[in-house]
């Protein structure tokens, strides 16, 4: 059975004055994906999420959740966190969650478990304003999980947290993903998307530059580290090679990218033929960061 489409976005446009925050965005998210929306600050991530949650209106385009237009009933099947955690500062965790439970028309029974899961149980009777940022963010996750939603939307969930807080939240997201929930995660942290997500869309100035699985983006093109005693002729020969591109020379180690139909063995053979003796040859997986920066560069 093919995975069901959870969210389908067709040509979404949002204009703020002269600025096109989102420009003809096209996306599809399927069941059980952990879908990363990656982009620098101001690339339209939050604007996109605000539109698909019905908080702001789009200028053009449309989207469907579960094949239907957005409605409060659909929003109750989605748990979301946008930017900063929003709660009543003078209410404690329980009272804040009870309001959410009332809104989502679900019982209060899940509240103690969610507070335990997010590590807030001990502080459940303290006012929200006394919480640290990490605790506030965890309460937001608890609120998003109330009513057992099928989809979770997280906008920069680790923003502003300390390393421990970041690790906690990431572990929590991966755990939730394992339960089969679909997660849409917006982030400007490449590392975060690489560690957590199965699929990614790269956004820049409201345009989608790439969309597909994280594995696919990581496996296209192998990056090699090559070194030789005679570094000059190595560099020369590689520059002459039609199917290898030299990226940079870092302390006598050259970073080389091969075209898809050539292997590291081919490069080794080619260099021997040319009389260059290699004393170091290793493959590195290109990090998402390299891809990301390349994508941004190509468009610039």
């Amino acid at each position: 059975m093919p995975p069901e489409t959870i969210l389908n976005i067709h040509g979404l446009v949002k204009q703020f004055g002269n600025l096109k925050a989102v420009d003809g965005l096209q996306l599809e998210v399927k069941t059980a994906q952990i879908f990363g929306i990656l982009g620098p600050n101001g690339s339209g991530k939050t604007t996109t999420l605000s539109m698909i949650l019905g908080l702001i209106r789009s200028n053009q385009g449309s989207f469907e959740w579960f094949g239907q237009p957005l409605s409060p009933a659909i929003l109750k099947r989605i748990g979301s966190i946008l930017e900063t955690p929003l709660f009543y500062p003078y209410l404690n965790a329980i009272d804040n969650l009870k309001i959410i439970a009332d809104i989502k028309e679900t019982t209060y029974d899940e509240i103690p478990d969610l507070l335990r899961m997010t590590g807030l149980y001990e502080r459940r009777r303290d006012a929200f304003r006394t919480y640290s940022l990490g605790m506030k963010q965890r309460l937001a996750i608890a609120a998003a999980l109330l009513g057992n939603p099928e989809v979770l939307i997280l906008d920069e969930p680790t923003n502003g947290l300390d390393p421990q807080g970041i690790a906690d939240i990431r572990a929590m997201i991966i755990e939730i993903g394992k339960q089969g929930k679909t997660i849409i995660l917006a982030s400007h942290l490449l590392d975060e998307v690489q560690k957590i997500c199965t699929h990614v869309a790269v956004l820049k100035k409201g345009v989608c530059l790439y969309s597909g699985s994280v594995d696919a983006i990581l496996s296209d093109g192998v990056l090699l580290e090559v070194s030789a005693e005679d570094i000059n002729s190595l560099e020369q020969e590689i520059q002459l090679c039609a199917w290898a591109q030299l990226h940079n020379n870092h302390n006598g180690i050259l970073k080389v990218q091969l075209d898809k139909d050539h292997t590291p063995a081919d490069l080794n053979f080619y260099l021997i033929e040319k009389g260059v003796r290699v004393n170091h040859l290793s493959t590195t997986k290109k990090s998402l960061e390299t891809h990301f920066l390349e994508l941004l560069k190509q468009q610039a």
Binding site: P72, L75, Y90, L91, N92, I99, I100
Partner: protein
Amino acid sequence: MKRLGLITFRKLFKSRVFWIMLSLYVLSLSGMLFGVESFMNKIAGDATINSPIPIPDFSLYQFPYIWHNLSYLAGFLKIFTALILIIFVAADYSYRTNRLQIMMGLSRGEYFVTQCIFVFALALFSVLILAVWVLIQGFLHSTDLSLMSITSKSYFLAAYTLEIIAFLSFALMIVTLLRRSGLSIVTFLVTYFVIEPIVRFYVPDVVAANLPFKRIGNIIDVPNSSLMQLFGLNFKTYIDYRDLIIVLLYTLLFLGITYWIIRRRNL
């Protein structure tokens, strides 16, 4: 509806600011309704000293006139309820919890209804306090305790309810439009005390008489006490259905605009 009431209640019941403001309101209202007669008699007494004709002592607390007297007085403090409303509706905007609620699946219509519930709750609460004082003072001071006398002017209570609801609807519209509590309070007060009175001065009488605050204030006119009659003044001692209809239309207009803004706004 029960659910929306519960949401409104949960937002308020643990806020210390809310209880302090509400207590201040109840204390001022009670103090006013409890002490007004002795205060008036003291003024009248002082005035008698310099007056060529004696001003008779009079009672504000006689059934059935007490309904009119105290409803009229209670109207002076309705500004309190408007402040409470503005502060707590604006809080939803400054904490951005309005956004949270919509995001979690509260429809914009339901969000509007939670605010209407707040308006009605404040109005009903005020009416309750007023009714309690009318009954206490009425029974303590009235000579005629027949059922007819006790109940005959109790419809002033309904008029007072409408007066407050209309007033609060205007406040709700202002705060929904401006979103910030300080700005909304200033705008509200300036409109109430300065702008509308000035406008009334410049426009034809027909228009002036139909401006919202003028009409709202007109529902319950100054009570026709013996003191007033002494000065040869005559105020209306009944509720004019035309006032009610126009104020009701204003209320619907203010609430309608509020709903429209909530529906349209990007959060």
